[in-house]
């Protein structure tokens, strides 16, 4: 066995394969890139890019400072600040789970950042502050607005996704900036982290003017430690850059449901990134309702991959950009999707778990946050963890918290509530709720709107104040039994969340962000107040002053009062003798 391995190494050294330089030394980092195209039930199409850089080195030891594929900026950050796991997502738009189905990776609108720190970090808050500032510099995003008023420490919702020994949640920080607008200036630094940039490989498709002309755009960076091999004796670091974009059938597709790479990105693929050890395009061609497949893809795929993804059996057409046969016939690859017959929109599958949230109530004093959680599984109940972060200026009344399922009260089995402190920290509400089969659960909580100081209002305060998405994490029972698969072999989009066992899969959903109106003052108010008080003071002062300094002296009645004088004038005019 060992001899065979040595022989293999020697062979590798003798004939360098494309994409990896064959040296005697073992390559310690590798890059995999992948694009998943999935037609959505509404006729839109979702494209998910994943770039994974794996580095067989321990970033934490501090001795490592020589980077190859792993970007230096992020590597130094992880080493310098004692980061164990970092997840940053910048999103424009909202993933409509109800209509689009379960996403491979959802993110809340705006910016989301959650970080696990190493246990060796003594001052986590300071490291968190520094980290968000540096990230804001790297990604040109307003992450520097993350402070104690929007940071929470969830106890149950966010578990480390990578290797971890110990989950002391004091090392975790979570923050969402729902107001953040994502645009090209955030995409450019994100692309710069890729070893091939946007010069070769799948990344050539990332053309900003197309990506932002879409109904949903989400780009993310995930850094985590993973097992180096099956025995898990050593740690490797993984950087996953993902980008999900949904092209609208009407605005991008001119109303036709037929898609092609060129139609979506106005580019086609010509080669793989020469540094990548794997470069694949997957197209979701799963038949709906066990019928014959509806979708036709051209050119013919290099292979077909079947997998169980998120409780559903899926079929993928795979194009391997590293296989030489693909570019034999034509110089570029333009994957085209055609529907064989018109789709019936009534047979749209409804995802097992989805949710909805809105603000109720009227007036500017009180209100109500309502969350509806749907479990459409026909016969299985399952628990879900709900994380709600509400800014301090909406004062939650916890006694009004009601959870109603099928007309009955539903008692959460775990509840963690951390009340807000004005101008210091937000409300944090975490609950573990059991969702019965085929049910709708309604969670309501009332709040009162606080009055802010006049300098605390953001620009354009009449636009309203955002309340970040609430997070639902659940292990959803699978309809189909899943096999244990080797993570290294399966496509990347299946492997970020750890799957616990064959009968369920992990889902994290984000609800809509809310927009709440707060009573907004007239902003010339301070000046008006000063003017008004000054005037009142001046008037009081004036009469007081007058009273005190005026000299009074007794005056003999001489020509009578004003009335008499007036009467005399009139009499004079009339020629009548004066009084």
């Amino acid at each position: 066995m060992a001899a065979a391995a040595v022989l293999l190494l020697l062979l590798l050294a003798a004939c360098p394969s494309p994409g990896r330089a064959g040296t005697g030394r073992e390559r310690r980092d590798e890059l995999r890139e992948e694009l998943l195209l999935s037609p959505l039930p509404t006729g839109d199409v979702a494209a998910t890019f994943q770039f994974r850089t794996r580095w067989d080195a321990d970033l934490q030891r501090g001795a490592v400072s020589h980077y190859r594929l792993f970007p230096k900026a992020l590597g130094r950050l992880v080493a310098a600040l004692g980061v164990r796991e970092l997840h940053l997502a910048l999103t424009q738009g909202f993933w409509r789970t109800r209509f689009w189905g379960q996403p491979p990776l959802q993110a809340p609108a705006g910016a989301e950042l959650w970080v696990w720190f190493q246990p060796t970090v003594t001052d986590v808050d300071k490291a968190w502050k520094e980290l968000s500032n540096i990230l804001s510099g790297i990604f040109c995003a307003s992450l520097n607005f993350i402070d104690s008023t929007n940071t929470v420490i969830p106890t149950a919702s966010f578990k480390p996704l990578g290797l971890a020994n110990g989950t002391d949640h004091h090392l975790l920080r979570y923050a969402v900036l729902p107001r953040e607008v994502v645009c090209t200036e955030n995409l450019t630094p994100w692309k710069k982290l890729l070893p091939c940039g946007s010069k070769a490989g799948l990344a050539v498709l990332l053309k900003a003017e197309r990506l932002f002309h879409s109904s949903y755009h989400s780009q993310a960076v995930h850094i985590r430690p993973v097992c180096r091999d099956a025995s898990c004796m050593a740690v490797s670091w993984e950087l996953r850059q993902t980008l999900t974009v949904v092209f609208d059938v009407f605005s991008s597709g001119q109303g036709k449901k037929d898609w092609s790479l060129f139609k979506m990105f106005s580019r086609t693929l010509t080669d793989a990134c020469p540094l990548a050890s794997q470069s694949k395009v997957y197209v979701d061609i799963s038949p709906k309702n066990k019928e014959k497949e509806l979708l036709e893809v051209t050119p013919p795929p290099t292979s077909v991959h079947e997998a169980v993804v998120q409780g559903d059996k899926k079929t993928y057409a795979v194009y391997d950009l590293l296989s030489p046969s693909l570019f034999n016939t034509s110089r570029s690859l333009n994957v085209q999707l055609k529907w064989k017959r018109p789709q019936d929109s009534s047979e749209m599958p409804i995802p097992v778990l989805h949710a909805q949230r809105y603000v109720g109530g009227y007036g500017l004093q009180t209100g109500e946050i309502c969350t509806l959680i749907y479990n459409t599984h026909p016969y299985r109940a399952f628990p879900v963890i709900l994380l709600e972060t509400v800014p301090w200026y909406l004062r939650l009344y916890v006694h009004t918290l009601t959870i109603i399922t099928k007309g009955k009260e539903n008692k959460p089995s775990y509840i963690h509530y951390q009340p807000a402190q004005d101008r210091r920290r937000p409300h944090l509400l975490e609950m573990l709720i059991q969702l019965p089969a085929n049910s709708v659960t309604k969670i309501t909580i009332q709040f009162e709107r606080a009055l802010l100081k006049w300098t605390e209002y953001p620009p354009d305060p009449n636009h309203g104040f955002y309340v970040g998405s609430s997070v639902l994490s659940a292990l959803v029972p699978s309809v189909i039994a899943m096999k244990d698969v080797d993570v290294e072999q399966s496509p990347l989009f299946t492997s970020l969340f750890p799957s616990s066992d064959g009968s369920s899969y992990f889902v994290r959903l984000y609800t809509e962000p809310l927009l709440v109106n707060l009573p907004t003052p007239d902003f010339s108010m301070p000046y008006n107040v000063i003017c008004l008080t000054c005037t009142v003071v001046a008037v009081c002062y004036g009469s007081f002053y007058n009273l005190l300094t005026r000299t009074f002296h007794v005056e003999e009645p001489s020509r009578g009062g004003l009335a008499k004088r007036l009467a005399n004038v009139i009499r004079k005019l009339r020629g009548v003798p004066l009084l």
Partner: protein, 552 residues
Amino acid sequence: MAAAAMAADEAERARGRRAALSFAAIAVVLGLPLWWRTTETYRAALPYADIDGLGQQPVQLVVPVAVVFSPGSVPGDLPSPLPFRDVQEMKISVNLRTSVTSRYEMAYRATTAQEEAALAAATAREADAALRPLQDVSMGSLTMYVVPETSSLLPQGTSVYVGRHRSALVRAERGLAALHARLRQVTQVMSFTATSITAALSDRVPDSRLSPDARRSLKSSLGYEITFSLLNPDPKSHAVDWDIEGAVNRYVKPVLDKLSLVANFSVDSQILYYAVLGVTPRYDKESSSFLLSAHSLPHVINPVEARLGSSAASLYPVLNFLLYVPERSHSPLYIHDKDGAPVSTNAFHSPRWGGIMVYNVEAPASPQASLPLHVDVDMARVMEVFLAQLRLLFGLSREELPPEFLLESPGNEGLADWELDHLLWAHTVENIATVSTTLTSLAQLLDKIGNIVIKDDVASEVYRAVASVQTAVAKLAVGHLHSAFQASKEAVTSSERAFFDPSLLHLLYFPDDQKFAIYIPLFLPMAVPILLSLAKIVRETRQRKKEPTKMD
């Protein structure tokens, strides 16, 4: 009746006057100070006079030099018998206001028996090594050994040998004056020259007077980040590998260990793919190669710089060393200087930024060779160039020396002790100048904008910086280079901390006229009656003074 009424009236009038006067008095004595105090910002006192003084403070650099005469080398015209002391001064004027005085405290003596034994060695290098334990080892001090004119210690044609540490061997001259001139030359090489001090104070020198060399060396800082980047614009044809880790440990680390006294260094490296230069090289048919001419080099860096990545995690200046492997369609690539001759190292450096070296890959013997071509970079060749550039960037060039000087190669450490001193002298002077500039502009700013809050901790940092600068200047004046440098470093830290303190930016600053305009609705109605009644009182008293004369 009328008189009684008149008297009552007069009493009433007097009471009114008193009331008006007391109103005015309360407004002035109580109201105005109260308003002033409540709307005032907190401003801690700053040592403005001391800060002003820093700019004009004369800096005196004192170099203790020991001149040791070996038997047979003592010139005949010595002013007094050995040992004796002597002081030489030199004034370096930087601009009209600033000048630096250098003061060489020469101590002349004859060799001891041990030194004589050491000087009897066969070669200069051996003598230098043997003399090392016998010297004054404190930083900044120098020892010159004068050997007889006929000594075989120095090779033919050289009259000065500068060792690895803080000593030199000087061949004796005929007269004392000639020896003095020679000694002065050696001392300046080993400590500082007028140019190196001017370069350190380049902020204060008019631009026209600066040579390009003076602007090359890096600004003094508490730390530097050194980044080696391998640029591979064509990963499809070249799979380039470099053993940067080994090379850094072997070549760079010893130098940085020695330099760690001056500043903190961190070293890292990265490989950048698809990073291209901003200039398309010209094809030269004769040599069938591509050429980059000297005048196009300034355009090379900008597009690359965007890819280099900023060091988000620290604020130290970054030194970039780029190794560029040209793409296959543009190789071989050679850099040509202004005269059109190829540059032998195929490298160039950019002042205060770093260096770029072009590393050509030999074309494969057979054109059918499979791509990508595997390339292992010869790190010894590369690091030789980068280290030379690093020395240049720190102002440690060994070029401009007269031919009769022989410098011992620094060996494994990459840096001789006296070169380190050379850096320390320049950096100390520069730090002192930087601190005085920083504090002066801070004081000016705070003086100009009257409603910036000055917190106590900002003030204490300013005081600390001033005190440290004064210590540094005092230490320089007694020849303690190391402690002077430490003090100047502390001064830089404190002054930067004070200058960049976020509390200086907290308030919104309204112009004063707007601030007063807001209070007009209060001030105007209050001030008008007071002023009117005061005017009335004045008028009445004047009238009453006139009245008695009328009555008479």
